[in-house]
Amino acid sequence: MRTTLIVARRELAAYFATPVAYVFIVIFLVMLGALTFAVGNFFDRGQADLAPFFTFLPWLYLLLIPAITMRLWAEERRAGTIELLLTLPVTMWQAVLGKFLAAWAFAAIALALTFPMVITVNVLGTPDNGVILAGYAGALLIAACYLAIGAALSATTKNQVIAFVLATAACFVFTVFGSPVVAGFLADAVPADVLEAARRISLIGRYESVTRGVIAVRDLVFFATFIGFWLYANAVIVDLRKAG
């Protein structure tokens, strides 16, 4: 565990070594604010909650989370430092988990900086802060899912741009499967069983129930399994692609 944290600490520091991290956070906050207030009609709704905020969050994550993960393995492979990392006394699991935790911590920092929203809504009305807390938990969970996908796909290439595109595409697939629009569109072409299976592995439905404050054990198990699967895939991909 100690080694994992040492790997994670370096990785997290690397985010802040360049201005990219700050630019990322600013874009994240501005976009989220714009979506919530302008598109989400935060004021006109006249309700003391953060529903519009949490509705837009996964779609914004779709573009921004791959930007966090694209560097993780692609850059190590491009610079050859992966050989250094994996010949230090670090197991594959410690390396995979360390990088994932660093990316998650970074996403959590960006998310934590949305706290003015919570203050605003508390000043304007009396929201159910338990639901808001659940919303943040859901946001962290879906961020972790996207991060796990992005980290694994980052190991497939030496090119960060390709890593970004692959991760966005994959996250998109796992997000839209659950949306009624896509389901309706595919209903004629695809057997109902397949659609049902697709809906079950989709993230957005489970995310929405968590953000509504309904935290079911089977959803938590699903998120944990989903993240675990992608972290495992990450280790396998790194191992397979080491030679190239």
Partner: protein, 317 residues
């Protein structure tokens, strides 16, 4: 002599390509093994397998008795490894990087500080401690890589081209460092600088097309050269012809090569010994008999570059 590094029948295939084919070698404490071969011969791939980075298709390697496939972490704890190109994290400063490596290697507190300081001292990095590594020259980057490999004072060192990109002074420093550490450790260095092999290696393994084509001391390798025991004499300009005729009469000599030497009009004659037998005595006698006293005379040990070409080309043919 206990073998600290043992590679057994290492083989690595990349699809249909056999990059390393049945390479076995052992290195004992106190030995510096020079790993030679043309580019693409499989040197780096072999080292990557021994270091536990690449998984061999067949065969295995043991370091200090620990199998790299069964217990990679035990192997990596005992190994100092400088990968090809000396990769380091470019955005970190030299101290931050070395401190991080020390932390990963499990050193804490004052022990960590003293280890980092020692590594910095060994590789003379004092002047660049707070620069980001990406801002450093190639020579400094290589030394940071070297410092990282030496940090934990490992029993086994595997260095992939440790002097590549260094200037002659730095090369000398690194060679001195390796020689100084050699008695306590088992070291493998890969290089294609042959003088380096003669200077610091106790043994040389030549590899071509993934196979070991020679495993001998540098002196033994030099003996395989047709230049082994060749005698070169330098005589005055007017004596060149006479000396050449006298030497060509000698049965035990192969060819005699004549070279004009620069502006001072001296002539150098190189007499190659047949079968590498010592010929200095007969050459002196033959020259004395025609009344020539050579201005200089020296005996070659053999030319490694030529042996290297022979070994690696024969395999290619």
């Amino acid at each position: 002599m206990t073998a600290m590094i043992e590679a057994e029948g290492l083989e690595k295939r990349f699809g249909p390509v056999v990059a390393v084919d049945d390479v076995s070698l052992t290195v004992a404490r106190g030995e510096v093994l020079g790993f030679l071969g043309p580019n693409g011969a499989g040197k780096s791939t072999t080292m990557k397998m021994i270091a536990g980075y690449l998984t061999p298709t067949r065969g295995t390697a043991r370091l200090c008795g620990h199998d790299v496939l069964d217990d990679p972490i035990a192997v990596k704890r005992r190994l100092g490894y400088l990968p090809e190109g000396a990769p380091t994290y470019p955005d970190m400063t030299v101290t931050a990087f070395l401190d991080w490596v020390a932390a990963v290697r499990g050193f804490r507190g004052s022990d960590r500080r003293s280890r980092v300081e020692r590594a910095i001292g060994l590789t003379s990095l004092h002047d660049v401690l707070y620069y980001p590594i990406e801002a450093l020259s190639k020579g400094f980057k290589r030394r940071v890589g070297l410092a990282q490999a030496l940090l934990h004072d490992p029993e086994v060192l595997i260095l992939d081209e440790p002097t590549d990109g260094l200037d002659p002074n730095q090369k000398h420093e690194v060679r001195k460092l390796i020689t100084a550490m050699a008695p306590e450790k088992a070291i493998i260095i890969s290089t294609h600088i042959l003088e380096e092999v003669e200077a610091i290696c106790t043994r040389a393994v030549v590899i071509a097309r993934g196979r070991v084509v020679a495993d001998a001391t540098p002196a033994e390798l030099a003996k395989r050269s047709r230049w082994h025991n060749a005698v070169t004499v330098v005589v005055g300009a007017d004596q060149g012809e006479i000396a050449a005729v006298a030497l060509r009469k000698l049965e035990m000599l192969g060819t005699v090569e004549v070279d004009a030497r620069g502006a001072d009009g001296l002539i150098a004659l190189s007499a190659l010994a047949r079968d590498g037998a010592p010929v200095e005595g007969p050459v002196r006698t033959a020259l004395a008999s025609v009344g020539i006293a050579p201005r200089e005379i020296f005996i070659e040990r053999g030319r490694l570059d030529e042996v290297f070409r022979d070994l690696t080309r024969r395999e290619a043919a």
